[in-house]
Point group: D2
Chain length 296, copies 4
């Protein structure tokens, strides 16, 4: 397929690369052009504006950092939506607000374009390996047509509704559950450490009994080591997603006290200059409060 | 082995039965004698006092509801510790405070008795099936000798330290992580429901991607249905364990805001007369706050 | 002075009336024209657009419900800022975001207009009596010139800085402290009630000892009665201000867990259909959680 | 009156001194005898055991640090309750648990003794000046007879019920409201500071408008200065009272999320070695989290 791929961060670059390898024709655009050029040698065409990127596309994939970036590309000043062909499909794959996803659904429909939200779960290593989990929502026919792309990018696609924003709701909720797990592990590891017991033994016990899921193994390892590397998803982006969640929760009047607690962890981390850390480093704040911080 | 088994609640009865089936000689004691008599036909001797129960025992297993119950049996007025043979081993399997576990360790040592803490993870159905997870701590030699008993009762034994109270610390932390999962699922399900999306689809997505652990499947099913049955672990007992956790956290100066949040869920549930519900029904409180309560 | 007064809600109407009584020449504008007409008989001119309202004004006072309303009047589509004379002063008196206050400061400066933020503390009865507390910030010369207006509207003016947004920061913080007081009183009254003791005796004790401030007497009376009347400040407006606070706190990386707790009270109240209640009715949510709700 | 005064800490010493000055005959007892001897030169008799202290007393006043201290004096091993005359009155003035107050009420009644709870509000300087607020509960006749003592110690007595533990409930609730005020001030001052505004201006505004109560002025001054001196009430004692509150709230099923938040502040402060600080130093934890800590 002829694909315009916009947004080449840690995740997007890996995803675009996999699509090229799978034989798709990609025109890529990124605000920082260097990241686009890195893909040129692998066969991508590099566009110098969003409009140029989508001029020819059957499918537009956006993997942009936040709402503002998506708005700048699709609406003003980028205005790619005006150039995108009638009948083309925009697949919005990054984590954006439920509200913006609704707005995009409406705007594309007015222009006879299709819109899918297909958010992803997984860190850069999963993106590289084509092992993401994909949460797709939108018209079944379009999802069917885009399934080959999802199969390149992910290990499994969950179709969660006919209404595109459903994928955004699910993604925000899943991210929240990851942070809930991080918080739970952080508090319990602090508890175990201050009883002079070994966190690694604790973690082995957890992941060998009721808590066998990858999320406990991956984040648990970083938390037990109090080392949050590699930086797969930056803390300010985790904070952004948490705010999108809380905003979407306010919209439908759902109090989420645990999400608020996590919110405060993010804010505290940012107040301590941790904006380059992985988002799981909010666990370090729990350690700090318990008087366990190393080297501070 | 000659085993005194004291404490025949939902969990204890199933565990005692499995030990009898495995060929061990059991003398059982329970405050409410009816539950003891139910085991008589299966081959248990029924003692009428704690002292009588332990008179002959090589191993004493306690599976009592709370600290007070353990103290009444071992110390005054039951005073079983005075009768227990030198060289016998007390295996404390229910969830008790870290402080009481320390006190027991000391008291048994003084009398030349052995003490293990071997707490269990799992609900009554797992106890019945001999599929509990066992968290054992104490002297390696005693653990080795008691391993055949653990193999009858559980699917896997985690040996977590030489110091018995370690097993109590781990058990309280694991219970906390279950409640953290319940809270996370409750808030995210409320969020999904109020966006008019299907919680069951959400749950399938979770347990098919990053959240594959049993704890998400078991509790997730109850939460998605807003039906907290069967009642495997009563809400006031969950509240009790949460208080033991917070008390043990205070003792070593670890703030646990998520545990406090769960504490308030329990208190709110009790204020609404839910003392016969399963502990996972704290999720219902989250639904109530979001205006989602059915039939209220 | 020739004053354009825009925004005639519960507070604004009383304030405009007092300015008329004091001899000022008012042109008023309100989206719902009926509220403007009510002031016509008292001597106000009624404008049919924001632009018309400010055409002649030396001073523009805005007392509008939220950021959006202010933007619509000053910027598009109302565009009053284009018509306001060079040298005229805009006094923004309602609770708006710190961010919008900064934007207004810049926009007015560019056009050679003056801008003051002069937020108010007090409910409609205080507005009626000219007994508001006024928190003013901006250039000292302009504050000096507008002081006669403040003296009509309030019992006391606090000048809190040369930079207009300071008044917005202070106002949001003061509102937060009111909600903190409400929450504190709500929890402690629930505690007292469930110990079968008399909340009114409790309140007399508080306000007769360390807690002599009006805020304890006014809100305490409503909380002790579990009756939140009269409705001086609607719950959704209180929620809005709480969100402005949290947003301004995020901007400077200050975690405010108590503000988050209050946030959840507002969300819960809205989930239970309390959007017409006074904002102090968040105390009722605390009573509900404690199982104390009347008529539930 | 012949008074036995037991418990000569920062508060108790000042109170005993005032009773001596007012002409009462005091026999004092303190575990650390040096503090008792300090009062000898002012006219007190020094007892070497609790029993000796109460042998002759018409009134026993206890001002002891915690439940354990009261139990050790009244019950085992001190056993003063056995020696106290029939018809004598025990006035329990320190902050103890509601549960222990009930137990004391019963125990004294059985022995034909009287029991009042008369808790106090105020710091050591207020105790020294005889300006405490006294919260008294118990039989009206006994309160009437002890009123002259209260008049020596305090500026005002609030009689809050016939049932002694009512005074303990009120005291715990009042202490909670002080911590709620501290938390509110801490968060709002952090908010103001990080907006580069002056906390002292903020405080003047607060205490000049709606927040005129002493509690805002006293604690506000320390918080704005981020200096928590003099140490009037030690942080671990504040923590103890917070735990008594939460325990008494659990007993009647009242969730108190704000009290939990304060609990975590105390725990965090203790984890950072602040056990010699004034309890208001929990505000410093809020500053730390906002990245505002000086010198750490």
């Amino acid at each position: 397929m002829k694909i315009a791929f916009i947004g080449l961060g840690n995740m997007g670059s890996q995803m675009a690369r996999n699509l090229i390898k799978a034989g798709h024709s990609l025109t890529v655009y990124n605000r920082t052009v260097k990241r686009a050029e890195a893909l040129e040698s692998e066969g991508a065409k590099v566009a110098s504006t969003p409009t140029q990127a989508v001029a020819d596309a059957e499918v537009l994939i956006t993997m942009l950092a936040d709402d503002a970036a998506v708005e700048e590309v699709l609406f003003e000043p980028g205005d790619a939506i005006q150039t995108l062909h009638e009948g083309a499909t925009h697949i919005s794959m990054s984590t954006i607000s439920v509200a913006l996803s609704k707005r995009l659904a409406d705007a594309h429909q007015k222009r006879g374009q299709h819109y899918l939200a297909a958010t992803v779960l997984g860190r850069p290593d999963a993106a590289e390996a084509g092992k993401l989990f994909i949460i797709a929502a939108g018209e079944p026919e379009q999802i069917r047509q885009c399934q080959p792309l999802f199969d390149v990018l992910g290990q499994k696609t969950f179709v969660v509704g006919n209404n595109a924003p459903a994928a955004n709701v699910f993604k925000l909720a899943a991210n929240f559950l990851i942070t809930a797990t991080i918080e739970g592990l952080a508090e319990s590891c602090a508890f175990v450490r201050k009883h002079d017991l070994d966190q690694n033994v604790f973690l082995e016990f957890l992941t060998g009994s009721l808590f066998t899921a990858p999320v406990y193994r991956n984040y648990g390892g970083m938390i037990a080591a109090d080392k949050f590397e590699p930086v797969g998803f930056k803390l300010p982006l985790g904070f952004k997603d948490n705010r999108l969640l809380l905003s979407a929760a306010d919209d439908v009047a759902v109090p989420m006290p645990l999400a608020n607690l996590v919110h405060d962890r993010f804010v505290t981390a940012l107040a301590h200059g941790m904006s380059n850390a992985d988002w799981s480093a909010i666990a370090h704040i729990a350690f700090q409060e318990a008087g366990l911080a190393n080297g501070e």
